[in-house]
Amino acid sequence: MLRRLVHCALCWTLSMAGVAGLYILAGAEFLGLAQLIVYVGAVAILIVFAILLTQRRELLSIERLTAGSWVTGVAVAGLVAGCLWIGLAYTRGLGGAGGASGGPALETRELGELLMGRYVVAFEVAGLVLTVALIGAVILALPFEQPREASGRRADRPAAGEGWDARRQGGQGA
């Protein structure tokens, strides 16, 4: 099994790429490609970065699965597969695969018009929330003000490790 978090993250990326492929197969080209850009290009890298910058070493490797967790895992997987099966069985009646041929997928232009017309409020609110999150992240990431000359001279510099620790605690407190 995958014991290393980075491997797990990369596998997750692969599955996201697979989902994007499903979207494209279903005729939703725009959605699939957007999924690829957002999840493979950005979110996966964020996750990987987060793993790399994690301070706690014990978080980086996952304990080998015990017999009990095996059972749980298989049970959950079976449950999910069952749900999917039922779902598929019901939709089969809708007449063949939606496929690229006569797909119900939206044209990019229609998608844009919907987002800017009918769902504009929801779209803008989501945008606002994301902007607030972005600004918050920038504020969190800003370095704490330190005396300017600290960078140049050894004597004025905080002793090794001090600056780093202070920043870390500050970051956690904020």
Binding site: R4, R57, E58, L60, S61, S151, R153, R154, R157, W164
Partner: protein
């Protein structure tokens, strides 16, 4: 740390004690350490928080070898101290021995010494700028241009001394050989063409935005620290101290030439870079005057017995303004054929002592630029 049965890989992954820090050993084989120099750097992200220079990968026992050989026998070894500027090392050593033995130098030899020393300064500074730009990532083009000029000067050296790099040209009481016919004219041609190269270099690089962004405010060496670290040469002058041994000692015939000593105000890499450019312009002025004024006459005092050379007991320190700073030789004679004590004051090593102060708080990419701006040669640092 708690061992949870993780493999060595996991430890590696977590970066040892503190995952935020990365300890990198730059060198001894690293494209930008100018030889076999090593820096143990501790990085926080890309910022340097600790830097420990490690020397000695090119320790060639220069001083011990010199104490076992004759005075003249050390002359070829001084070539290999700073292998970019063999002629200035020659001169400094010859000066020390001449002081020790009380020898005078004929006037034409003094002029030849000045000419070769300034030509050495030209090629050293040009190549140093090329190397620094290489460290900045300029794919070799500035270096190629610098080496193109260097080859012209090396041709002059070769026809004068018989060797491109290891000239072994100075002798106690003069120079080994007179300039061959037409050499002065050839030198005049090379020197006359040099300002064009300087203009080209300055136009291409001095106001380049990337060069300015990468070097201005980077690797600042404050004035008092530069003095305390006994830095010399362009590194010291960039920190705002107008100290030039050519002016203070007036050794050789430097008092006959009109030249200025440029001084920087910021002490950063850009100042060190620009000072070398300005110094080259002054060197060209000296060279033009020297090539004009050079008198006829002998180039070596014929009475000096080089073969069985035994100066009387005593001590002497001879120093000159080399391209990298004050290069000096300290000799103690016990009256025998080889020095009792032989000591080099290597400008590269002494300028390098403030390296950590300059690098702390900078990015790892700046470290190589700062190192390049100091202009070290490992042959001289490690001796």
């Amino acid at each position: 740390m708690i061992d949870r049965g993780g493999s060595r890989r996991d430890e590696c992954e977590a970066g040892g004690e503190d995952a935020g820090r990365l300890e990198v050993s730059m060198g001894p084989q690293h494209p930008s350490t100018h030889g076999v120099f090593r820096m143990d750097v501790v990085l926080e992200g890309e910022t340097v928080v600790r830097l420990k220079p490690v020397f000695g990968y090119l320790h060639r026992n220069h001083e011990k070898i010199a104490e076992q050989t004759t005075y003249l026998g050390s002359m070829p070894y001084t070539d290999r101290l700073d292998y970019f500027c063999s002629l200035t090392s020659n001169w400094a050593y010859a000066l020390a021995v001449e002081k020790l033995a009380g020898l005078a130098v004929p006037e034409r030899a003094e002029y030849l010494r000045v000419i070769t020393a300034e030509l050495t300064r030209l090629q050293n500074h040009a190549c140093q700028m090329g190397f620094m730009l290489q460290d900045l990532g300029a794919m070799g083009t500035p270096m190629m241009y610098a080496f193109r000029e260097r080859e012209k000067i090396l041709d002059l050296f070769e026809s004068l001394t018989g060797s491109r790099m290891m000239c072994n040209y100075m002798r106690f009481g003069g120079c080994r050989a007179d300039a061959p016919a037409g050499w002065i004219e050839a030198a005049r041609g090379v020197v006359g063409d040099f300002p064009r190269f300087l203009d080209e270099y300055e136009a291409l690089l001095a106001t380049n935005e990337i060069v300015m962004a990468r070097t201005q405010g980077v690797g600042v060496l404050p004035r008092d620290l530069a003095i305390n670290a006994s830095a010399s040469g362009p590194v010291l002058r960039a920190s705002g101290v107008g100290y030039d041994i050519r002016k203070t000692d007036r050794y050789g015939v430097y008092d006959r030439f009109d030249f200025r000593v440029p001084v920087g105000d910021h002490g950063d890499c850009y100042d060190r870079f620009m000072l070398r450019l300005l110094e080259m312009r002054e060197s060209v002025k000296i060279l033009e005057a020297a090539l004009e004024q050079i008198p006829a006459g002998p180039v070596i005092d014929g009475k000096v017995k080089l073969r069985n050379f035994k100066p009387r007991a005593g001590e002497a320190y001879g120093r000159i303004e080399g391209p990298k700073g004050e290069i000096g030789f300290y000799l103690i004679s016990d009256g025998s054929a080889s020095p009792y004590r032989y000591r080099v004051r290597p400008p590269s090593l002494i300028n390098l002592t403030a390296l950590e102060e300059m690098c702390l708080g900078q990015k790892v990419a700046d470290v190589v630029v700062i190192l390049g701006s100091i202009d070290i040669v490992l042959g001289e640092v490690d001796r």
